[in-house]
């Protein structure tokens, strides 16, 4: 940052700075400003319209006494852990298979990536039709002669969240695969040759050489998937609408419902503040560890 080539540092790269101003203002006003607003109003008794009638922690007390909210948090945890691990593992395996110089690679890549072109709403509806007992998998298997076969993934509250995980994976794994494939293509052929000369088996090469080298790709992927997980809403609305009962509710849906259809801003804002806090608790220490020291060494520069 030490600018000594020009006399007045703030005027250096003036065009670039002017160009960045709208973004900086947007970040300050929209993100920081609205976040502060959200936190402040989560301590009020606001109903449909915001009022500054402070009620202390009341909204939070009610929030954690509401079973719908605790179920939502539990569901988000299940959905998060499962979709994160499965989409990384499946995405990487698909990419590794795709990287074997196979025929019709383009075709396969398109097939796997295609679901990502669909919105979560469409994904949700498609999987609702596939999984619903009256027309979907259950009916097909029964028509094949297995009369007593039941597949109650959408109608039994214990399983619905897994239906959402499946639909989410179907939609998201293709993107992970594409990212991973790009990462694999960046690995120098020389490394493969060297590993082969040393007689290291392929799986070991992947596990101990390639994957560590792909660290930046993994981090990018992780950030992208995590963001989709926290904000999952439309998939649930289209697939189960939170049901049966409250068994597949998620936090984002609670926030939306409370703020817009039930006219309880205070409660909705309290819930979104909790969502933000959770994300920050996980993200901040990790981001500090991950990005700061390495950035200087120039390892993660892309």
């Amino acid at each position: 940052m030490a600018g000594s080539r020009r006399p007045f540092a703030p005027l250096r790269n003036l065009n670039a700075k002017i160009a960045a101003v709208p973004m900086i203002v947007t970040v300050l006003v929209v993100f920081v400003g609205c976040t502060l607003w959200t936190v402040v109003y989560s301590f009020t008794s606001s109903r449909s319209l915001p009022t500054l009638d402070f009620v202390g922690m009341d909204q939070y007390v009610r929030l954690f006494r509401t079973s719908r909210w605790t179920v939502s948090l539990k569901n988000l945890a299940i959905f998060g852990v499962l979709s994160l691990s499965f989409s990384l593992v499946l995405g990487f395996i698909l990419a590794a298979l795709m990287d074997q110089k196979i025929r019709f690679e383009n075709t396969f890549r398109t097939i796997f990536l295609y679901p990502h072109a669909l919105s979560f709403i469409v994904t949700g509806l498609v999987w609702q039709w596939i999984l619903t007992p009256a027309y979907g998998v259950q009916k097909v298997v029964r028509d094949l002669g297995f009369e007593t076969f039941t597949f109650p993934i959408l109608t039994d509250g214990r399983f619905t969240i897994y239906a959402i995980v499946i639909a989410g994976l179907w939609q998201g794994t293709g993107l992970v695969m594409a990212l991973m494939l790009a990462g694999l293509r960046n690995i120098d052929d020389e490394i493969w040759k060297a590993a082969r000369v040393d007689g290291i088996p392929a799986w070991k090469t992947y596990l101990f050489i390639i994957i560590p080298m792909m660290r930046p790709v993994f981090i990018t992927t992780l950030v992208i998937i995590s963001a989709t997980i926290v904000k999952v809403y439309d998939l649930v609305v289209a697939l189960t609408n939170g049901g049966p009962g409250i068994s597949s509710e998620v936090p984002a849906k609670y926030v939306y419902d409370l703020m817009f259809s039930r006219g309880n801003l205070g409660q909705g804002l309290a819930a979104s503040t909790i969502m933000l806090t959770t994300v920050l608790i996980i993200l901040v220490p990790w981001a500090l560890l991950e990005f700061r020291p390495r950035y200087r060494k120039g390892e993660v520069s892309k």
């Binding site: 319209l49 509401t66 079973s67 409250i246 006219g263």
Partner: protein, 414 residues
């Protein structure tokens, strides 16, 4: 240069737009009347409005139930892009919008036409009042407390056609044997509706009023209330697993076709039977008040008119308001919708057997209950809905647990 021509073009177009609006306004009306019977009723209104000449009804139907449409409507009004008029439920849906001064005041028109003299029951108009002024027009009376049954389904299963809830429960095993779903229901608000109906009709008027009006936790925890929860627990065993995500009119059509034996649903379901050409008393039958306590609540739909900068629109709004309460509109609209008129002085001779039952019950003001929407804020209603749907879906949840949480919600209600 270029900018200027663009500006001129814009200015001209705005001018033209305003000019064309002078004298006649396009009134955008939003509503969520989209099922067969409902759409027919909305069409009646649109046609009679266009016939008045000048202004035009621009239909802004929003697909989905009220819970989908309500946030869209409210956020449009809050966002400064108000429609000409909008349907909402009678009650507290628009309370905050009225308080914020976003709705057109109809008091002058109402006094001139003497609404207070003919709108029955009077409570309906009270729901439109805020600080003595009138902000909405009730258009119909809907009651939740109806059960629709298909007598042929019972005959097929060799069971007696029930005349009340208990007989219905008793007939259920025979229906199940025949592969007929005893009770057709659907997504969350419908299940919550079943609970409301049971509260009013199995719990009785006193219990209902104590909980609605006084928010009495004692009543909510009483043995009478426990009996209601117990009946609700029975109901969850009568539904089929496919109820998840089912629309109310799909559930009605299961009853229509004899795949299901009964449905607890408000009287708007009657519009569906009407559209399908079914005759009350033979093809289908109704048990108002579940055949136990024949009391009905008086919810319904009302029209609100968001404040608008254009005086032409305001004029058109008042014209629509006046038309909505007129005798002709009331009769034509309510016959199509299967609901009851808001005026006591219209001739409903052409109404079918079920509607006649309803009119008879409402004639005695002792049988009239305040609706849920008038008593509870949408927040409290939402909490109860969460509880009832959780209970309905999770058969391991006990009546005691559910009731304990119910008491808590009633205690917090304002």
């Amino acid at each position: 240069m270029r900018y200027r021509s663009v500006l001129t073009a814009l200015a001209t177009s705005t001018f033209l737009f305003t000019a064309s609006q002078a004298g006649a306004a396009d009134l955008e009306v939003t509503h969520w009347w989209t099922s067969g019977g409902e759409a027919a009723a909305a069409k009646v209104l649109a046609e009679s409005y266009d016939k008045l000449g000048g202004d035009k009804w621009v239909d802004g139907a929003i697909a989905g139930s009220g819970s989908t449409a309500r946030p869209i409507i409210v956020s449009r009004i809050l966002g400064g892009n108000p429609m000409g008029a909008t349907q909402l439920n009678t009650g507290r849906d628009a309370e905050d919008l009225v308080k914020a001064g976003l709705m057109t005041d109809l008091t002058e028109l109402a006094t001139k036409e003497g609404w207070a003299d003919f709108i029955r029951p009077a409570k309906l108009l009270d729901a439109c009042k805020y600080e003595g002024k009138i902000y909405c027009v009730p258009v119909n009376i809907h009651s939740w407390q109806w059960m629709w049954i298909n007598p042929n389904a019972f005959k097929e299963a060799g069971a007696a056609v029930p005349t009340n809830w208990n007989e219905f429960v008793a007939a259920a095993p025979k229906l199940k044997e025949k592969g007929i779903i005893p009770l057709a229901t659907g997504d969350a608000w419908q299940i919550d509706g079943v609970f409301r109906v049971m509260l009013a009709n199995l719990g009785g008027k006193d219990l209902y009023l104590k909980i609605m009006d006084e928010k009495s936790t004692e009543a909510a925890g009483s043995p009478e209330m426990k009996a209601v929860w117990q009946a609700f627990a029975d109901a969850r065993d009568l539904a089929d697993p496919g109820y998840v995500g089912r629309q109310w009119n799909e559930a009605t059509s299961l009853v229509l076709t004899g795949k299901a034996a009964g449905q607890i649903m408000g009287d708007w379901a009657q519009g569906e039977f009407g559209v399908a050409g079914k005759v009350a008393g033979t093809d289908y039958d109704c048990l108002p008040g579940l055949g136990v306590h024949p009391v009905l609540d008086t919810g319904g739909d009302a029209f609100y008119f968001p404040k608008n900068a254009n005086p032409e629109i305001t004029k058109a709004q008042l014209k629509l308001a006046s038309m909505l309460v007129s005798k002709e509109t009331q009769v034509a609209f309510n016959l199509a919708k299967g609901s009851l008129p808001i005026r006591g002085d219209v001739d409903m001779q052409t109404a079918n057997a079920c509607m006649q039952k309803g009119i008879k019950i409402l004639a005695d003001s002792n049988n009239v209950l305040p609706s849920y929407e008038q008593a509870f804020s949408s927040d409290t209603q939402g909490q109860i809905e969460d509880l009832t749907t959780e209970f309905f879906a999770d058969k391991s949840m006990t009546v005691e647990d559910a009731q304990a949480r119910y008491v808590e919600i009633i205690g917090e209600a304002k």
